[in-house]
């Protein structure tokens, strides 16, 4: 990494740190399908906007550049676990560099509907090594808060079955090899939830009981967010900022100019 990028990242990190609670904040909503996290993310986003915050939302697998490529391959059922992982990592990196970090540097609230933990849980459930996954996604940028919406595999399965037939990869049919998507989903989501539970301990997620009434969850999230606003900026994100500045000279110019 160039000295210039490292020095600028250090300076920028100090500036972010000094802003205290006026700095940008990254809040990730994580959990299995059917856990209600998207409903909560929307409620939370509206509340933040109502409180006067500038809010940006980022969703999993949503970059204009890579999403169409992933979608075409999912439709053809032509990718395996490793390609799935590498393509999602590319999509994530692209959004991190183009959407998330610029918004955070501007001091915005970034609400992420799924973050890299989605990849870690799903790809580990597909049999990939966590160690390799962490390398693929490095340098890692950690959110300020991760809300983890905890549900049982049965509840997740019931909620999904009530609205749609799970798609091939969503049901994990590429790894379970079970023809029935509902049965496959049940098997796969149990593995994903196991991985999430392990990650929630390692990475200190805030667990929300996703089987509690919707509005109660929302009120709890607001309370927990307000309590967390004083958290200092995580210094270990400096490496990711420096990498971003090196990879995107325009980002460096904007940050230096700000």
């Amino acid at each position: 990494m160039t000295e210039n990028a490292v020095a600028t990242a250090k300076r920028l990190s100090q500036e972010i740190h000094k802003k205290g609670k006026d700095r940008g904040f990254l809040i990730a909503f994580e959990g299995p399908d059917g856990s209600g996290k998207t409903t909560q993310r929307k409620l939370f986003k509206d509340w933040l906007a109502g409180e006067g915050y500038k809010v940006t939302t980022t969703k999993w697998n949503s970059s204009k550049l890579i999403k169409p490529i992933i979608r075409a391959r999912k439709n053809m059922r032509s990718i395996n676990q490793e390609e799935f992982c590498l393509l999602h990592a590319a999509d994530f990196r692209h959004r991190l560099e183009q959407e998330i970090l610029p918004a955070l540097v501007e001091g915005k609230m970034v609400v992420a509907d799924r973050f890299l933990f989605t990849a870690l849980a799903r790809d580990a459930a597909r049999g990939l090594e966590l160690d390799w996954l962490l390398h693929i996604y490095s340098p890692l940028y950690w959110p300020d808060i991760v809300f983890y919406f905890s549900v049982s595999p049965e509840t997740s399965g019931k909620r999904i079955a009530a609205t749609r037939t799970p798609k091939y990869y969503e049901a994990g049919q590429d790894v379970t090899k079970i023809d029935d998507p509902f049965e496959s989903y049940q098997r796969f989501i149990s593995r994903v939830i196991q991985e999430y539970e392990a990650l929630s301990i390692i990475f200190k997620f805030i667990t929300i009981d996703a089987e509690a009434p919707i509005y109660d969850q929302h009120l709890l999230i607001r309370k927990l967010f307000e309590e967390s606003r004083e958290r200092p900026w995580p210094q270990w994100n400096e490496e990711a900022i420096a990498d971003w500045m090196q990879m995107m000279p325009k980002a460096r110019e904007a940050a230096v100019g700000s």
Partner: protein, 176 residues
């Protein structure tokens, strides 16, 4: 994590700086081999599709490496390993050194590149193609070097060439 190559067949890596030379150079290398196969860049069509998307955003180098790795995994799974299993001599053009070369020239850490390409089996033999320096840069979809040059708006061929020359000096590959 690493893909286990079959004990049969022979994997030859060939790294180039002009995509248009890929097939001809690979065929030359395979002249004396009775059972042969060639695997070229972007067999998965990721880069071709991305180039044709009507979006103004450009991928950064780290994203490009992840996409290159995804394409290489696809090539290993569908082209290289099946051909090796049939006992063929396969030329992978380009192979992992092209990824390392790009990573090196944009300053990505070697440890990260090693991890990304951990899945790729080592080639039995490695070559680089020497070529004329004054040829016009090919279209972005003709090769990875051209694609990256287009994205970074800079002709990267001299830097790739210098990386491959250094590999040859260190005895990692031979030139053809």
């Amino acid at each position: 994590m690493a893909l286990k190559p079959p004990s049969s067949g022979q994997l030859i890596s060939l790294d180039i700086i002009e995509g248009r030379d890929a097939v001809r150079a690979a065929k030359n290398l395979l002249k004396s081999k009775p059972q042969r196969g060639i695997s070229t860049w972007d067999a998965s069509s990721i880069f071709f599709e991305m180039h044709n998307l009507e979006v103004t955003e450009r991928p950064t180098p780290r994203t490009l490496i992840l996409l290159y790795a995804a394409d290489l995994f696809f090539r290993l799974r569908w082209e290289i390993i099946p051909a090796l299993e049939e006992g063929k001599c396969v030329v992978a053009v380009p192979y992992i050194e092209t990824g390392f070369a790009f990573g090196n020239l944009v300053g990505l850490p070697k440890t990260w590149l090693n991890e990304v390409f951990r899945f790729a089996p080592k080639a039995n033999e490695s070559f680089r193609l020497k070529c004329a320096k004054d040829a016009k840069l090919g279209s972005p979809t003709s090769g990875f070097v051209e694609f990256c040059s287009d994205v970074l708006k800079q002709d990267l061929r001299p830097q790739f060439a210098s990386y491959f020359e250094d590999l040859e000096r260190r005895g990692v590959c031979r030139s053809v």
